[in-house]
């Protein structure tokens, strides 16, 4: 056991057990050392105990003082206890009192409420009595308004109150009174209905309105509106009948005769609108807001009935269905025998769109009125009720016979309008004429006038769907039919001087050229025969381009027209998106026309004149050739076509009056320097009919033209510059560059021709000479299905002339599938004769000095 702590509590350490060493243990100690240790520990313990005792004694006085103080507090505590008991008594008393008071108040409140109820009931009973008396009196005096007011008061009484009243002591009397009142109500209803009917029959508007105002007082809102509408409908019907009679008697020479049915509808709609306008305030005042819908719903039934009559008459009088049938037949069958004359449709189409426009206007008016009325009436209503009402309105507008009838008429109209457009466009194409000096022919203006007219008419119907449908049809008409016309014209191509011309012309070409050069100008004799065809081709190209522009203009015009229509609130929420989509389809056609230009001047059609301009760029010392895509072709093309002859280009002719949209691009040789200032443009090469015919170098103002033997036109007017005739090395270098470029150009064309599986590619003997068999080799791989061995190149070299110009090579496929002639080839010409022409042609190559040519200017 461990020794006890030195601070053991003194009070408890009385016994010997308090020591860590028990007596038994001490007695059992035998060893001296142990005894000594025990002794010393006991001594220590004694010392500690002594100390504790001392400190306790010290505290004695403090404790005694505290005891005295406590004794003194004794009586005070007794006082407090007494007070506390008194307080408790008071609280209990107050509590009981409060409880008593509040129960009294509750009782009072109850009594008050009952009193109020009693007063109310008394009031009601008094009212009932008063109403009863009043109704009787009023009825006797035929003061129906007063009677209705009493009934209204009775009807607005709390039904449960009346019920309670009947259970009272005087229940019998009240019962009797109620019965009387109910009888009076029924009587009044009957009287008012009767009086209303009478007034209606007599057309006595003040009386009608008088009784109309009474219905809502009797709680008969629906009946009142229905009755009143009946009256109004009768008015509408009478007026409509009158108007229709007038229509039948209309003289055909009348100014409005052509739109008389549209006018009749207008009168009908205006009549109804006026009625709504006039009577809306009464309905609003006496029936409250939100009731206009009911009134108009009734009116719409009559409107539908009258519309049906007018439209039936219209269909009959104007033979609408038969005309539609005829149009449909004409569209189905290709027989032109019984085709309906589009001009005959013109008035009826206008009238139908007018009819629809009036209907749309009327429906929009109704919609606005009802919506505004609902808005006021539903100000406090839940979202559900609002949607419900909106649904009612939509249903009324969409399902009314007027809408359906008009949709039907417009359905027919669209088909007929489409027919009208197509036939009229066909006519315009057939009657196409061109006046000298004009850039385009008549059909472009005519066709766009027609398309504009048809879309404009569809627009005037105010029906967005109708408008979109006509935009779609116009897009189709322009994209397929009309574009086809132009495309076919272009396909005929720029009239290459016919084979006969060629035969005749080649020999004379030399003479002409000689004489021309001597006179300093070219004679156009011999090329007139194709002038007209050439003109026609060029006009067609202009037409195509103007069409492309016109479509964009048309789109823009329509956009602004449509936004006007939309801003007036026509069309649904998607109207804008719909129109935009249809118009963007139309705009896409503009690009398709533009593509037509591209195609027509691309090597795809060998028969077309392709005056391509390659741009030769000096690129950091290394020659780099590239053909500019798209528009560059066109720009240069105009130069070629308008001037027609390369020689004229060199002859510094002034530009033609106006070139559509390319004016800024006119390539004047005169302004060559300005062109050159566009830094990287160093050289131009012109090709004609897929043939490189000329190359112009800006720096030296040298024009080099290469002969193109297949087209006498070109042959007549082109000159060849042989390198031999160039006096200095620099010029020679230029020519060589030019040739090099030509080679590139030809290769491009060849490649394209191959990829297009073109049967024949016209090439220039001059350039072919440069290409030689190497080209064949390099391209034979591209010739799918043809082995290289199948290609039989005929290469002739004129050894006598050292220059590179006199080579012609000819290549045909043995399988006969592909005829590929380098040098020249003429479709339909016997192979045997080829060599002959070749010989002839080579003789036409004339050499002159370019400087001489330029100085002629």
């Amino acid at each position: 056991m461990a020794a006890p702590g030195p601070r053991a509590p003194p009070g408890e350490s009385g016994g010997p057990a308090a020591s860590a060493l028990s007596m038994e243990r001490i007695q059992s100690l035998t060893d001296l050392a142990d005894l000594e240790a025990a002794y010393s520990r006991l001594c220590e313990e004694e010392k500690v105990v002594q100390e504790e005792l001392d400190s306790l004694l010290e505290q004695q006085s403090t404790i005694e003082n505290k005891m005295v103080a406590l004794h003194r507090m004794g009586p005070n505590l007794q006082l407090i206890e007494g007070d506390a008991q008194q307080l408790a008594g008071m609280i209990t008393f107050t509590c009981n009192l409060a409880e008593n008071v509040s129960s009294k108040v509750r009782q009072l409140d109850l009594a008050k409420n009952r009193l109020y109820q009693a007063i109310q009931r008394a009031d009601d009973i008094l009212d009932l009595k008063f109403c009863m008396d009043g109704v009787q009196t009023a009825l006797r005096n035929e003061d129906y308004e007063q009677a209705a007011a009493h009934i209204h008061r009775y009807l607005s009484l709390d039904k449960s109150v009346i019920e309670l009243s009947r259970q009272g002591k005087e229940g019998g009397i009240i019962d009797a009174n109620l019965k009387l009142l109910q009888e009076a109500e029924q009587r009044l209803t009957t009287i008012v209905t009767e009086k209303f009917d009478t007034a209606m029959k007599q057309g006595d508007l003040p009386q009608v309105e008088r009784f109309f105002k009474i219905f809502p007082l009797l709680g008969l809102h629906e009946e009142g509106l229905s009755k009143f509408s009946e009256y109004l409908c009768k008015q509408v019907a009478n007026k409509a009948e009158e108007n229709l009679q007038l229509v039948m008697g209309t003289d055909m020479s009348d100014r409005r005769a052509a739109v008389i049915f549209a006018d009749t509808l207008t009168l009908l709609f205006e009549g109804i609108a006026r009625i709504v306008e006039t009577h809306q305030p009464i309905v609003e005042t006496y029936y409250g807001p939100g009731r206009l819908y009911t009134l108009i719903k009734h009116l719409q039934v009559e409107c539908d009935r009258q519309v049906e009559k007018v439209v039936d008459k219209f269909i009959k009088e104007r033979d609408y269905h038969r005309q539609f049938q005829q149009v449909q037949n004409s569209m189905m069958r290709s027989s032109s025998a019984e085709k309906i004359e589009p001009r005959e449709l013109d008035p009826i189409l206008t009238e139908v769109t007018l009819m629809n426009a009036r209907s749309e206007l009327y429906l929009r008016f109704i919609k606005r009125r009802i919506m505004a009325d609902f808005e006021v009436g539903d100000a406090m209503a839940s979202e559900e009720v609002k949607q419900e009402h909106q649904k009612y309105l939509d249903k009324l507008l969409n399902n009314c016979l007027l809408s359906c009838t008009m949709q039907e008429l417009i359905g027919y109209y669209i088909t007929m309008e489409e027919y009208f457009m197509r036939e009229t466009v066909n006519k315009a194409v057939a009657m196409d004429s061109y006046e000298k000096g004009q850039l385009t022919s008549s059909m472009v203006d005519d066709v766009f006038y027609i398309v504009k007219k048809c879309i404009g008419r569809a627009l005037s119907s105010s029906s967005i769907d109708c408008l979109c449908a006509m935009i779609n049809h116009s897009t189709t008409e322009l994209e397929s039919d009309f574009r086809e016309v132009l495309y076919n014209k272009l396909k005929q191509g720029f009239p290459a001087t016919t084979f006969q011309d060629f035969q005749r012309g080649v020999t004379s070409a030399v003479n002409i050229m000689h004489s021309s050069l001597q006179q300093g100008k070219f004679d156009t004799k011999g090329i007139e025969s194709t002038d007209e065809a050439k003109q026609s081709f060029l006009v067609t190209l202009n037409n195509v381009e103007v069409c492309s522009e016109n479509i964009m203009t048309l789109k823009k015009t329509l956009e602004s027209d449509c936004s006007k229509l939309l801003s007036q609130g026509f069309g649904g929420e998607q109207a804008q998106a719909k129109i935009e989509s249809c118009l963007s389809d139309m705009a896409a056609v503009s690009n398709k026309f533009r593509d037509l230009l591209q195609v027509s001047v691309s090597p795809n059609y060998c028969c077309l004149p392709t005056l391509a301009a390659g741009v030769f760029r000096e690129n950091s010392g290394r020659n780099h050739f590239s053909l500019r895509p798209g528009h560059v072709w066109l720009q240069e093309f105009w130069v070629g076509c308008r001037r027609e002859h390369i020689s004229q280009l060199s002859g510094m002719e002034t530009a033609p009056a106006r070139l559509h949209s390319h004016t800024s691009w006119q390539l004047h040789i005169k302004h060559w320097n300005r062109l050159q200032s566009q830094r990287n443009v160093a050289s131009f090469v012109f090709t004609f009919h897929g043939l490189a015919v000329g190359s112009a170098f800006s720096g030296k103002e040298i024009l080099i033209a290469f002969p193109s033997p297949l087209f006498s036109l070109v042959a007549q007017h082109t000159v060849t510059l042989s390198t031999a005739s160039l006096s200095n090395a620099e010029d020679r270098l230029l020519v060589e560059k030019s040739c090099s470029f030509l080679r590139f150009l030809l290769l491009s064309q060849m490649q394209i021709a191959l990829s297009m599986e073109q049967r024949t590619l016209w090439l220039n003997p001059v350039s072919c000479g440069m290409l030689g068999p190497a080209v064949l080799k390099c391209h034979s791989g591209l010739w799918q299905g043809e082995k290289q061995e199948d290609l039989v190149p005929h290469v002739e070299r004129n050894q006598a002339k050292e220059n590179i110009l006199n080579q012609v090579c000819l290549c045909t496929s043995q399988r006969g599938q592909v005829i590929f002639l380098f040098g020249f080839a003429v479709q339909g010409t016997q192979m045997a004769s080829v060599q002959h022409y070749q010989q002839t042609l080579l003789r036409t190559v004339v050499s002159i000095d370019t400087k001489e040519l330029i100085s002629k200017e």
């Binding site: 027919y412 769907d465 491009s748």
Partner: protein, 203 residues
């Protein structure tokens, strides 16, 4: 999303008899709604939804047409510019199926020959009222070389699939066309001109 923010734009036109559920199909797909008590469509409705397929944004312009006869001349005008037509019938309505040949004649007459046509039998949630068997419709669509699918606009069955599959087909079709166009591109300076340089040496 801006107007031009897409890789492909396709026009899809829904056609078929009145009341077969064209509008509900479109609403379900574009808005995720199935509006009960849908009124008859007037003329044409127009909705746009842009979807992403294999990382490419495809804008679908969906034209929901009225099935009623009197709107035919309006709806017909939309056929030609359509990339795809969804020809819809109601599996619980024999009549709507029997009219399909008539609709096909319309397609033949007005639509582009490149148009993709999908035959859709709607309302499969009303299985107990089915009048047109799946097999019959499948045979018909096969004979007419059309894709065929049964949907429920109400339960949203196959609706996503219908439009997304169609979008995929349109994309692959569009890709093929571009390929063909590139090969036959007659315009110089487009694509190939550089390669010529390698076969003839300019110095």
């Amino acid at each position: 999303m801006s107007m031009e923010d897409y890789d492909f734009l396709f026009k899809i036109v829904l056609i078929g008899n009145a009341g077969v559920g064209k509008t509900c199909l479109v609403r379900r797909f574009t808005q995720g709604l199935f509006p009960p008590g849908q009124g008859a469509t007037i003329g044409v409705d127009f909705m746009i939804k842009t979807v992403e397929i294999n990382g490419e944004k495809v804008k679908l312009q969906i034209w929901d047409t009225a099935g009623q006869e009197r709107f035919r001349s309006i709806t017909q005008s939309y056929y030609r510019s359509a990339n795809a037509l969804i020809l819809t019938y109601d599996i619980t309505c024999e009549e709507s199926f029997r009219c399909l040949p008539e609709w096909l004649r319309e397609i033949e007459q007005y639509a582009s020959n490149k148009v993709i046509t999908v035959l859709v039998g709607n309302k499969i949630d009303l299985a107990d009222k089915r009048e047109v068997s799946q097999q019959r419709a499948a045979e018909f669509s096969e004979a007419q070389d059309m894709y065929y699918l049964e949907t429920s606009a109400k339960e949203s069955d196959n609706v996503e699939k219908l439009f997304l599959d169609l979008a995929c087909r349109l994309i692959s079709e569009a890709r093929q066309n571009t390929l063909v166009n590139n090969v036959s591109s007659p315009l110089p300076g487009e694509g190939k001109s550089i390669s010529y340089l390698t076969c003839c040496n300019f110095n």
